[in-house]
Structure formats: C-alpha cells, structure tokens
C-alpha cells in the first residue's frame, strides 16, 4: 500500500496508484501503540488523489497509526513527518517549555551571569554548543551501553561523568588551539558543570525514550532557550541597575521579580499547542 496521511480530524487519505474501490470492511485502522482496538470506519470514498477513509472517532494530527488493507494484506503506517516533530520539539524546548522560565532549571548560572549583556551572550553561545555535544554523547552511551545492559540506575552517575569529562575536554582543546577564544569563553565552559539544564536534557531524553534526532533537537532547543532567557534577562537587569529600585530590593531580589515577570509572559506561549 502506498503512503497514507491524516488530512483532518476524521479523515485519512491513502494515496494509491491503482484505483481500488474499497469497502468499509476491507480496511482496519488502529493506533501503532495498540493494534488490537480498531477505529470505526464510517465511509470509504475514492477521490482523484486516492482513497479517503472517514472515521467516527477523532484522530490526532500528530498520532502514530496503522492502516491495514484486509483484502491485500498491505499495511501502511501513518506517522507525523520527522521534520515537523523536530521543529515542534525545538520550539517547545525554547518557548513553551523554556527550561529557565517554566521548568526553573539552570537558575544559579542564570542569575549569576545575567548581570551584563556581554557575559550573557558568551554564556548562551558556549552553553548551546557544549549542550548539544553532551546531549548527543549521553544519548549514544544510553542507547548502546546503558539500555542494552539494563543499567538504568547508573544514568545519573554516567551522565554527570560524561558532562564533566566533556567540559574538561572542551576546556583543554580550546586552550591549546584557540587561545583567544579560550580567554573569552573559558570561564563559561567551567561554569557549565553547575548548570542543571545540561544534566536534565539527557535525563529527559532517556526517560521519554527519544531517538537520536529528537534528542539533538531537545538539546539544541534547550540551549537556544537558555541563551534567549539570558539575553532577555541581562537586558532588563542592565536597565534595573540604573533605576531607582528600593534599597532592600537591590541586586538579587529585583532580579527575581524580573524573572517572575518574564515567566508570566512566557506563559503566553502555552497557547502555541505544539
């Protein structure tokens, strides 16, 4: 059977080259996760593009389904396109589920380096690069070592080891090959170990059993989201430093209030529905 995809809440389009007129009883549509419970098919029509199957129950546009042609025995799988899923993960990690403002991770580093815009940008860039590297390495180790050997309880120890190892390597390599770059970004590289986002990403990937590309998308999204949060925050704090803030609120307290306001505005992204 050829390609099939969901066109709206109740309809699946099957692109068949041969115009097979289907009957209601000749198709069986189930979810991939649970192939024992078929959907009730109310109508099967032929259009110029292929066969349109209408179901009684509603379908999720991002769901994974299996369509079987009982007459010929062919099976078509319906899955959202990988690129779409990756973009959804990326945007969701950046905005809807921003690690700083909605999951409250990486706050120590966030408040520590967001006082000046220049340091904020440096930290954001460094963190994104190292985060993607460590996310990938952690995925490889989890997929090919921890998972096959059922060593899930070692995840925390192994992941933190990978991160510490990677941070050391990046630091040394940068120092030996790009001394100017190291003078500028070296301090951020060392600080990365204390950022809990970098540990949270591999743990989340492992918990939800994500594949390689999805893991990479989450790593990249979390890094970009962190960089975005740092940039916004540092811009606001530079202004707050020049404003007549009450004495007891100077410094960290006002920074927390500002972060709260940012978190409130990030709530607005939850309407994106990714």
């Amino acid at each position: 059977m050829a390609k099939a995809h969901i066109i709206n809440l109740h309809q699946v389009l099957v692109e068949t080259p041969t115009a097979t007129t289907g009957e209601l009883s000749s198709f069986r549509l189930t979810t991939t996760a649970d192939p024992d419970i078929p959907f009730t098919i109310s109508k099967v029509e032929t259009s110029e593009k292929g066969i349109v199957i209408t179901t009684v129950e509603s379908l999720a546009s991002k769901g994974h389904y299996q369509l079987k042609n009982l007459a010929s025995g062919d099976v078509a799988t319906i899955a959202p396109s990988l690129v779409g899923v990756l973009i959804a993960i990326l945007l969701s990690a950046m905005l809807v589920q921003n690690f700083v403002f909605t999951r409250y991770l990486g706050l120590c580093v966030f408040f520590g380096v967001s006082r000046k815009r220049e340091t904020a940008i440096g930290m954001g860039v460094t963190f994104t690069i190292v985060g993607v590297l460590s996310g990938f390495l952690a995925w490889v180790i989890n997929q090919f070592v921890l998972h096959p050997l059922s060593l899930h309880f070692l995840q925390i120890i192994v992941f933190i080891g990978i991160i510490a190892f990677l941070v050391q390597i990046v630091d040394v390599v940068l120092k030996k090959t790009r001394a100017a770059l190291h003078r500028k970004f070296g301090i951020y590289v060392v600080l990365i170990t204390t950022n809990c986002i970098i540990l949270a990403v591999p743990l989340l990937n492992a918990m939800e059993g994500r594949g390689m590309w999805e893991s990479l998308a989450l790593s990249l999204g979390s890094g970009l989201g962190f960089a975005l949060a740092l940039f916004l925050m540092s811009s606001a704090r530079e202004r707050a430093d020049l404003s007549p803030v009450p004495t007891v609120f100077r410094g960290l307290p006002i920074a927390f209030i500002l972060a709260g306001l940012f978190a409130l505005s990030f709530l607005g992204f939850s309407g994106l529905g990714l």
């Binding site: 170990t193 007891v248 410094g251």
Partner: protein
Amino acid sequence: MSEHPPLPPKNRELIWRGLFSENPVFRLALSLCPAVAVTSSMKNGFLMGVAVLAVQVLSSMTVAIARNFIHDKVRIPVYTIVIAVWVSVIDMVCAAVAPEIYAQIGLYIKLIVAFAIIISRLEVFASKFAFLPSTIDGFGMGLGFCFAMVLIGAFREVIGNGSIWGIELIPIKPLLLFILPAGGFFTIGLLMAAMNWIDVKRGGKLPTLGGGHG
C-alpha cells in the same frame, strides 16, 4: 592536607550558620533551581529539603572519611561522583517511600547532583575538617536548605491555594498566580527583600549585592 588542621567551629554555631547567617538559599543564593521549582506546596518542598539534607550529610561524611586519600588534582570529579552515588540511592529511596510526590518532583531529585550547595560544602568544609564537625556542618546546611524550602512552600501554598500541608485553611484561592511557575520567582524575590529589610531594621548593613553563582 596540612599537618595542623584549623580548629573546627563549635557545633551550635555550625547549625546556626546553616540555618540563618549562611542560609544556602536566602544568603548564599545557591541551589535556587529546586527552591523555585518544587515549592508549589509545602509537602513537595519538605520532601525535596529532606532529600537534599540526606545527600548533604552522607556526602559530607564520605568525603570527611576519605579526604586524606583523595588527590588534590582530582578532588572535584571525585566529589561529583560521591554526590552522584548518594543521589542515586536517595532517588530510589524517595521513589519507594513517597511515590505520589516523587511523580511530581522526581526529575529535580535526580538533579541534586548539580546543586552547587552540596559540592561547595564538600570543598569548603568537609575536605578540611574531621568526621564529626563535617557531619554537623552538612546537617546544618541541609537543615537550612530544608527550612528555606518549607518556608517558601508554605508561603506559596497559603497565598496561592489557601491551604497548608494539603489542609484547606480558607475556602478561596487568594492569588492563584503564586502556585504557577512565575509565583516562585516572586516569592523568593519578596522573601529575600524581607530578609534584607530585617537586617536593616536590626541595624546591620545590607549584605553586598550578592550574585547567585555556581
């Protein structure tokens, strides 16, 4: 390690330092992630506080015992591994003891590994002093953290949900905002400002413009 280690401070003073004068959350501005993340209710805050207390005491004890065998050059990786081992243990204990709360805050318990407060106590204290004072220092700091978590959790639960420890106090929800993500930031900002205010009232001077680091 020097031949004559400095004399450890008195036990009472160690506890007091952890609880108030060097409170990890309000004073040192360390380990803020859990302080905002899991304190939407007092129960969650309490479990998190107890978990950190246990990890802190156990890691301090381990490092205090092993401090003479740890080479200076590799001490930070060794501390990290020690913490990671104890976090793995506490993580499993929490999952077994309080499964409902664990379902909400499990990720944050795993992330105790990356908390600056624990490694900084190992570096500053446990690597220099003997077993007993290190244990008490770890206990004091853990207690201070637990105290801060319970305080923030209670504040947010009363204002946001009108209840405390899951028991309803007032039939309305005064400011739902405070149990939402943003409320955690506001609460800590306000509590920090309140602590500064108390300091000013008592005649002390403002603490230097601290910047949460590590």
